[in-house]
Structures are given as C-alpha cells and as structure tokens.
Chain length 428, copies 2
C-alpha cells in the first residue's frame, strides 16, 4: 500500500478538491482510451490482461539461461533498458555481480567503444547468453551491440549453439529483429503494440531479465494488479495516485518547474532514472513540462543539499520512503566516545537513516520547498510492482492535465535524423 | 588543452566582451584572495604549492596497500567521496572491480544498512584496507562506517595488524579523527584548512585512493598545473575558463536556470556528479543559482532527450567531448543487411558516437537550447587534471559573478541540526 502525505506540499485539501474535476476528466478519458496517444495505453490493463502463456515461457527461458550461463547480456536502450535495470538494482544485492550468478550486464545502451570493449573483456572466459530487446531491431545502439554479441556467440558456440543462447524481445510479427529471429530460430518474446517503451517494464521487456536474476515476477504483477484496482478509485481523497498527479500540476502552475525525486537508499538510484524517463519523456513537449531530477540521499545532501535548501525556489521534492528494511545494523557503544557517536548506541542504521529523512524534509520545507512524501512498506517485488503502476498512471494523468500527449516522443527523432544524415544513412 | 566552442550558445563575441570587465574584476578578487570565502581558496595555487613530501608518502602508502590488500574501502561523503569516485570512474576500466586489484569500494557515503551489510558480505574473504577521509572525524555517515570497518579490521588482524591497514585523511592537527589516528598510530594525510571539500580532489583526499588504483597522480597534477597558468590569462578571448563562467552567467540572466552537463561515455557519469556538487553547492544560495543536472548520452537521449528537445526552454547544455579514444571497434559488413547497419561498415564506434554528438547538438540548438561545447583530447590523467582545475576556477568566478560566496555551504547545516535533534544528540 502506497501512502501519500502532502501535508508539506503547500497544497490544502480544499485546493486539491478544486482540481478534482480535472483529474476525474483526465482519468475518464484515459480509462475510456479516448485521449491523445490512446493507442499506447495498453499498460493500463496489463496487470490483468498480460499474456499468461508467454509469462510461463519467460520463466522457462530464465531457467534455461540460469542453467547454461554465467552471465546474461541484456541489450537495449531507453525503455528497453531502464525498467529492467531499475528493478534489478532495487531488488537485488548491492554488489550482485560480485557474488551471484548469472551475472547481469547491460549493453547497447550507449555508443561508447570503450564500454563495449571492456564488457567483451569481462565476458571472455564466461559462458553467456543474450537477451536483445528492440521493437524494430534497427535502433542504432542496440543493433550495433547485437551484431557484435551475436558474432561473439557464434564464434564461441557455433551457429547452432548460439541459437540456444539468444532470446529476442521484439515486435510480435514484423521488423528486422523479428525476421532475423524467425530465420535463425531464436526464441522470441513480444513488445506489445499498445505499450510504449517507457511503460514496458511489466512486459517481457523487463520480465525476462528480471526472472533470470530470480526476481519473483508473479509478485511484481500481483502488486501492479492490486495497484490497478486501487488507483482506479475516482474519489480523489482516497486515491494517492490522482493526488500525486494533481499536486505536481498545481505546483507546476505556481512556477515549481523542477521536481526532485529523492531516495534514501542507493538501490533506488536507477528506479529514479526510470522515473525520469517516464515523466520527462511524457511531459517534456510543446514547451512545457516539469524537469525531472533525481537525488540519492544522504549521499547527495552533501552535494545538491545546499542548492535545494537555499537556491532558486523553483523546485519541489518528492521523497520515496521505504518504511522497513530486512537488513539492519545496530550501532554499538565504544569505550572512549572519540567520534562522538555513542549517543546513537542501540539505535539501528535504518532508524538513523529515517531520522535523516525526517530532518531533511523539515529543513527543505522550512526553506520553501514543497514536499510530497510517498511511502511503501518495504523494498520487495510486490511493493515495486505497485509503485511502477502508480507512477505510470500518475504520469498519464499528469500529461493530460498538462495538455500534452503523454504517450508519444516526437522530439526524439530530431537528433536521430541529424545523426543519420551525418553518417550517410541511405534515405537521409 | 581544453577547447571551448560557444558558437551555438546564442552569445556573441560582442556580448562576451561587454561582460569582460565583470570577469576581470571577479578574477582579480579571486587571485588577490580578497573575495567572499577567501580563506578557502587554497585550491587556486595547489598545483604549484602542494606538499611534495606528503605526495611521496601517498605513493608509498599506495604501494603498501597494493602489497597487502585485495580491496581498499574508501570511507567519505560529499567532497571526501565524489572527487576520487569521479576520477576513478573516468580513468579506469568500466568493470574495474571485476578484473583488477585492489578492488575499490566506497562506504560512508550513505546511511543505508543494506548497502553496508552487502559490502561487508563482499569483503568477507578478502584482505582489505581502509582509507577514512573526514576533516573532523565526526561526520555522521563516514564516522558510522569507520566505526564498523575499524572493528572488522581489528577482529580480523588484531589491533596491531589493523593499524597497518588504516589510513586517515583528516585535519593536520585537530579533530576526532586526527586524535584517534595519533593515539592508534595510523598513518595520516592532510585535508588542508584552506581547501573546501568540493575543491579537494587534488589533495590527499582524492590522491591516495587514486594512487592505489594506479592512476598517474603526477600527470594529474601536471595537467592542473598547466591549467593554473593557462586559465590565469586575463584576456577573455584567450581564456576558455573565463568564457565558460561568463557565458553561463549571461544565459542565467536570460532565464536559463538549468544547466545540463552532457557526456557521451559512461566513464564520465561520476565526473558529472562531481561537477554537480561543485557548481550546485557553490552557487545554490540566497535564492539564486543555476540548477545543475547531468545526462549520460546516448543513453539518456532515450529518456531525457524529448524534454531537452521540446520541453520548457529554461535549459542550456554544456557538452563534454572527448576527441580521441584508445579503444575502438570497427563495424563490419554482414551478408544480409537485415538490421540495416551495413551503411556503417568500416566506420568505428567512436566515429558513430561523435556523429551522434554532432547531430544532437544541432537538434538541441535548433530546438532553442544554447550549447557550450567543451573538448579535451583524451580521457587521461593529464586532461582530467586540467578539467578539474578548469571547472574549479570557472566555478569560483561564476559564484562571484552571481554575487554569492562560492566557498561556503551554510544551507547544509539545517537538515543536520534537525536530524541531530530527532536523534537526541547532546546539545541539540
């Protein structure tokens, strides 16, 4: 259950209710699939309607990969990268690749030759598989990486052996990757037509890599399913998802055009990156949109803290609070209290971290930064499934409130077409 | 040699020259050490005046650590963390800890019990040393981590053995950590009084961990030394450092209050975090300051790209371009051009990455985002030493242009005092 506390958001319940009709209208159009970008709202019903047969195949493929591979290379960029990376980081060991198997590596998410060469060096003596994720199969970054890793696998295992180690998540029927997969006999999974990249983490795009590292994808879907029901409640006072959407819109209209998502555990670093894509790509258009920024506290209190406390008052902060932890450390008293920490004796690090959070919220609010506090019980599959759906839905509503199509990304094409021209791509 | 290209910054040479007197005045006050925060401008002469005896001791200590340790745990937060992390990430293998030794881990940079427990688990069977970095020794995060790792070392090696594995970088004469180090007999290194945390990477704070992973700290200092001479040139037309400071100030005065630092290699991810601390903590005060944000391209073109292209026009972009690479990959032609990449055959990945950069700059500029292009020749110690000094000096000048003290951080105390009250610290 996600709890939203807006008592420090400088938005009263009255103010919230004044805008309730806007949210209701936005939600109605979203649910009726009649708004802008309606053809990409498949994520809305995904937790109920997902392909159950494919879901079983994902688990089988994960088992196969775990059986024959020391490492899985996940090739994708944007929505075909960030969802899996976000939940993998949130739910697994902080040093997963150093102690668990199969190790998970990401590739095709940049164009750095050094990164690719370094990764190839690391994989040299390892048995590995590849999950290539691309709707079209022609996205430059991931297509280049896949060419390279496909050829490495074929050198190492032969064409027949490589076939057993390449898993393609792509369009159900058309496109370069789908054709190649059919010709070569790779197992394929589907990027649904009605789910855009940044909304795709609960499809095979995210689920296969997550299943490979033993993340419980049933629980993830269960969380999303419960969220889909809970956050369909039209009563705004009972629906934190709608509250989040309207409060950030009210703050934006007051000139708060930067939203900072803050966490207190390094495990949420990439979830924050996922959130930045979700909101930035959905809202940043037509000269509008809240600029999404992330901070990882308490680390960044010692870097961005000053700016948040005392800089321009054009920001608001949304804090992701995780109430419980299953790993904790108790501070012990020492003989001579030379570092002055004995006052913390018998407190746990989690308690101290929580107090840091409370103290920081108080300080930033006092400094004039509106605060929205989002709490989940613990960092597990069920809660993260809820949170994914919560943000996806809040983002769709937010886009409609802002008057943009939250499901397209026309601006992303411009640099690509320039790049293709510079590279001499036929037709550009 | 750092090259600055401002032809796409929407700032003419004429406009630049109009403001030249402001930069000259700011530079004069900085060099004369007469401005706000003058007691923290020791970084200005550091590349010439650094302690040469300590520099040799740093190298000796690094040798000792490499001799007896599989891993080094660097304990610090803020400026005692980001500088080393930034240059370590920029200059070493992308998967350093998986293939090199001693492995480098960071601790005390957050309050997450899960992070600490996970790190302790990873270190279980490894011989390790600790470099604890704290001016006072009482910073909550790093003091807690040090209590824990000190006790782990003493359990593992006894008090005498631990002594050979603990290296303290702290105040030259006073404070909790200095006292403890003297009592216990740890080797110590100095955080100079006249260099603030975010300006400290070229002191023992950054240099010891960097030397442990075989980064050439002589070359680093040499780069900074050359930069100190080059960027003292009062002729603004010949001084890219001053140009950077004045252009960002002009853009800020035009309402561009978010600066995005963009790179095209994952190796600069943490250098960007270092830069965010440097500028954010220096400028974000008195209700003023440019909000510093970072993007790692091409990765984030698929997340933040839409917002940059088409969102609110309150942003400008500074691109860090690395002209050459020493690791590259050539794209090969394949028989059936199923992924449509054959037009790239015989091009290298670095060339493609460069074209992505050029195409993106064109697109964003066309979209109304002013662009500053900063180029260095390659990603090595000498160039990074230059770049560190370049940004440090530009930041000092920027702060004076903005009318703030760029060397203090009063806002950071507020959350701490709230936190101490909540935790029941004596005196709060």
């Amino acid at each position: 259950m996600i709890k939203l506390n807006y008592e420090n958001a400088f938005v009263s319940e009255e103010k919230l209710l004044e805008s309730a009709h806007l949210v209701k209208a936005a939600a109605a159009i979203l649910h009726a699939k009649k708004g802008a970008g309606k053809e990409y709202t498949g994520w809305l019903d995904l937790p109920e309607n997902y392909d159950k047969d494919e879901f079983l195949r994902i688990k089988e493929a994960a088992k196969k990969i775990k059986g024959h591979s020391d490492a899985l290379v996940v090739i994708g960029i944007g929505g075909s990268y960030l969802g899996a990376k976000a939940l993998f980081s949130a739910l697994k060991h902080n040093f997963y690749n150093e102690i668990e198997k199969p190790k998970i590596y990401f590739a095709g998410q940049n164009l750095s030759p050094t990164y690719l060469k370094d990764l190839i060096e690391v994989l040299k003596d390892k048995d590995f598989s590849v999950n290539v994720i691309s709707k079209s199969g022609t996205t430059t970054e991931s297509a280049i990486a896949f060419r390279i890793f496909k050829s490495l696998l074929e050198e190492k295992y032969g064409k027949e052996g490589a076939k057993e180690r390449i898993f393609a998540t792509t369009d159900k029927s058309k496109g370069a990757l789908k054709s190649l997969a059919d010709t070569e006999g790779y197992e394929t999974f589907v990027v649904p037509d009605n789910v855009g990249g940044r909304y795709s983490v609960l499809t095979a795009v995210g689920l296969l890599p997550l299943a490979v590292c033993d993340i419980d994808i049933d629980k993830l879907m269960e969380g999303a399913y419960d969220a889909a029901i809970k956050y369909a409640n039209p009563n705004i006072l009972e629906n934190p998802c709608y509250q989040y959407a309207i409060i950030r819109n009210i703050l934006y209209r007051r000139g708060k055009d930067i939203e900072i998502l803050a966490n207190y555990t390094p495990k949420l670093k990439y979830f924050t990156e996922w959130w930045k894509q979700l909101f930035g790509e959905s809202e940043g258009k037509d000269g509008k949109g809240i600029f999404p920024a992330g901070v990882n506290f308490t680390t960044d209190l010692h870097s961005m803290g000053q700016m948040i406390q005392d800089g321009r008052r054009n920001i608001f902060e949304t804090v992701l609070n995780i109430e419980k932890t299953n790993k904790d450390i108790e501070i012990e008293s020492i003989d001579e209290d030379i570092d002055g920490l004995n006052y913390l004796a018998n407190k746990t690090l989690h308690e101290i971290n929580q107090k840091a959070m409370e103290g920081t919220i108080m300080a930033h609010v006092e400094g004039g930064v509106p605060n929205i506090l989002l709490s989940i019980e613990e960092l597990d599959e069920y809660n993260m499934g809820q949170l994914v759906y919560f943000f996806e839905k809040a983002c769709g509503i937010s886009g409609y409130l802002l008057g943009v199509n939250p499901f397209n990304q026309p601006g992303v094409e411009k640099y690509k077409s320039n790049m293709f021209t510079l590279l001499g791509k036929p037709g550009y």
